[in-house]
Structure formats: structure tokens, C-alpha cells
């Protein structure tokens, strides 16, 4: 799936550039993007170190497991394949909370930590597990209570009410999340049924 998307992006880009007669655009764009990607990662190094350091303190003090215990009834339903006391649960909760608060730079480190924990219980290390897919469906459609960046942009262009978009944003994201989680659930159910048929036949 991803192989096809990646190839499609590249091939269609190069063909269209050739068709338009400005193939040199491809070179510039590719080299610049490669540099930018490393810059994104380098910017992430410090932020990752900061938040995972803070998270380690919270973990050692037992704070994360308290949080995880509070949300356990919800979490075991969303992640039936993860043991209820597994540290992945705490990291997932931290990631989603940071997302909601609009703390994008804290959410990413927590999210990667959660993925590492989920990888520990993944039977096929190069393939996404069910719990990983559910987590990503939740994560990519998570509600942000205050989309601060876009409000700032609106204010800078003298909007009469920069924050009027908050309500629609929350509502639209809630719908997106519902669909994402439902689709994920349907895939999981289909796979389970298939596995059962395989073992029966």
C-alpha cells in the first residue's frame, strides 16, 4: 500500500514535470526536501529528549500508571490485544492528552514511546499490529481543543473573530475520529473472522 503511494507520488511528479518541460524542478525539490527532512528530525532531537526525559520521571514516580488505571475501562475496549497493565497504555494516554491540548511537540515523543511499547508485544516486528493501527487511527484524528496556530494566522490578517472556527473544528474532528475508529474496528473484526475461518478450515 505505502509502496504504491510512494511510487505514485514520485512517478507522477516526474512525469508531470517532464510534460511541462521543467524537469529541473524535480532535482531542486528532491534535494531541498531531503535537507528539510533532516532539519525536521534535528529540531525534534531536543524536543524528544526533553519530553521523554519528563515522561521517564512521571513513569518512575508511578504517575503514568495512575493515569492509565483511571482510564482502564475505556482503554481495554479500544485495545483488547494489549494487557491492561502494559506501559503502552500510559504512553498512549499521554500522547492523546498532549494532542488534545494542542501540544504537538510533546505529543510526538509520547506517541513514539507508545509505539515502542506496542512493538514489544507485536508478534511480527516489521508489520503493524492491530493495537498500532487503532492507536494511529485515534492519533491522526484526535481532537485539538485549541488550534492555536491557525487562530494566530487569522488574527494576523485582522479577522473580526479569529477564534470562531474552534467550535466547527472540534465538531468536525469528532466526526473524523468516530469514522477513523469505526473503520479500524471493522478491519479488526474482518481479520478476526478470517483467522477463525482459517483455523476451522
Amino acid at each position: 500500500m505505502l509502496n504504491m503511494i510512494w511510487l505514485l507520488l514520485l512517478v507522477s511528479g516526474i512525469l508531470v514535470a517532464a510534460w511541462h518541460g521543467n524537469i529541473e524542478v524535480v532535482t531542486t525539490a528532491a534535494l531541498q526536501a531531503a535537507r528539510d527532512a533532516v532539519e525536521v528530525c534535528l529540531n525534534l532531537v531536543g524536543i524528544m529528549a526533553l519530553w521523554l526525559g519528563i515522561m521517564k520521571i512521571a513513569e518512575s514516580g508511578g504517575m503514568v500508571s495512575v493515569l492509565a488505571r483511571m482510564l482502564r475501562p475505556l482503554m481495554v475496549r479500544l485495545f483488547p490485544s494489549v494487557p491492561p497493565n502494559h506501559p503502552a497504555m500510559g504512553a498512549i494516554i499521554l500522547n492523546l492528552s498532549a494532542n488534545m491540548l494542542g501540544l504537538g511537540n510533546a505529543a510526538t515523543p509520547f506517541g513514539m514511546k507508545a509505539m515502542q511499547h506496542l512493538q514489544e508485544i507485536n508478534p511480527r516486528p516489521n508489520t503493524a499490529s492491530e493495537a498500532m493501527c487503532t492507536f494511529l487511527a485515534l492519533n491522526t484524528s484526535c481532537i485539538t481543543l485549541l488550534p492555536a496556530t491557525i487562530i494566530g494566522v487569522r488574527a494576523s490578517f485582522n479577522s473580526t473573530n479569529p477564534a470562531e472556527i474552534v467550535g466547527p473544528c472540534i465538531l468536525a474532528t469528532a466526526c473524523a475520529m468516530l469514522v477513523g475508529v469505526t473503520v479500524d474496528y471493522l478491519f479488526r473484526r474482518r481479520n478476526r473472522r478470517r483467522r477463525r475461518q482459517d483455523s476451522a478450515g
Binding site: K56, N139, C175
Partner: protein, 178 residues
């Protein structure tokens, strides 16, 4: 009112976390600095590990966009967007939304500069910017950090959420601001 409350929360969130977590750890007799460094070291390694994945993804996306292929793609989709009454200029933004956060922010800013933040399309661009996340960036970085390269159905569920976010944003903007 609600927005002010949310604003205060988002301003205080990071300072409070940086205050409360180490304090809580200290009370639980955690060697706070040692633990911090231990965790920070893991963070460092993870950030470096995702570089190859991000280079691959960002190069492909950038070539797709800079070459004009994205505009070709969005003109192919035009009959569909006309059907659901979406302004033509919003389509590139909708296509880029799952691919690149910074590109979309740039496009939304440009739309607001040209049409004004309180125009219909300006509001629509704002709502879409604040709605779903950059699915491909998240998939690349998260799966990359643990070396998973078979994403299975995660792409489909992520994109179905993105499409829903776009359609609901469009509907709400028509109802509220149209």
C-alpha cells in the same frame, strides 16, 4: 469566553507539566535528574532513527507538489468537488492535508491573505487546518521509529478520517458561515 479559558490552558499546559511532574517525582523519591537524562537519551536515539523514513516521504511529497502533479490531480477531482459545492481553491489544500503540515499551513495562510480570514474560503481553510492531522507524517514517523514498514489498513482508516474531516468541515462552514 470558552476560547479564553482554552487559551489560558494552552499557555499554562507546558509550564505546569514541567513543574508538576518533577515535583511529583521528587515526592515519590525518584532521582529526578538521573531519570530525566535516562529518558532523554532514548528520545535522542528515536529522533535520529526516523531520519531515513522522513527523507523518503518528504522527497516524494515535495516532488509531487513542486512538479505540478498535485494540480493535475486536483483538476481530475474537480467534478466531484463541484458536486459537493467545495470552492476550487480548497482542493489542493484538502489533498495536501494528510501529507504535509507545513505545506498546508502555508496554503491556508495564502488563501487568507488573498481572500481575507472572514471570507467563506478563508474560514473553510481555517477549519480544515484545525481539523485532522497529517496522517502520512504521523504514519511515517511513528512506524519509522520502530522499523515497521508494512502499515496494513492503518492508511485506509487514517484517510477515511481525513476525508470525513474535510466533508464535515465543508458542511459546517456552509451551515454556519455560508
Amino acid at each position: 469566553m470558552l476560547v479564553n479559558v482554552l487559551n489560558v490552558i494552552s499557555q499554562w499546559a507546558i509550564p505546569l507539566l514541567l513543574l508538576l511532574i518533577p515535583l511529583y517525582g521528587f515526592m515519590k523519591k525518584v532521582p529526578v535528574y538521573e531519570k530525566f537524562v535516562e529518558g532523554a537519551e532514548e528520545g535522542f536515539r528515536t529522533a535520529v532513527r526516523i531520519i531515513p523514513f522522513l527523507v523518503g516521504m518528504m522527497v516524494a511529497i515535495s516532488v509531487f507538489r513542486a512538479s505540478g502533479a498535485m494540480m493535475v490531480f486536483s483538476s481530475l477531482l474537480k467534478p466531484i468537488t463541484d458536486m459537493i459545492a467545495a470552492p476550487a481553491e480548497i482542493l489542493p489544500l484538502a489533498i495536501m492535508r494528510p501529507l504535509s503540515g507545513s505545506a498546508v499551513l502555508g496554503m491556508a495562510t495564502e488563501i487568507m491573505r488573498v481572500h481575507g480570514p472572514d471570507s467563506f474560503i478563508g474560514r473553510l481553510a481555517s477549519v480544515m487546518q484545525g481539523t485532522t492531522d497529517t496522517t502520512f507524517f504521523v504514519l511515517t514517523v511513528y512506524f519509522g521509529s520502530i522499523g515497521v514498514y508494512r502499515y496494513r489498513y492503518a492508511v485506509v482508516s487514517g484517510l477515511s478520517a481525513d476525508i470525513t474531516g474535510f466533508l464535515v468541515s465543508l458542511y459546517l462552514c456552509h451551515r454556519l458561515f455560508g
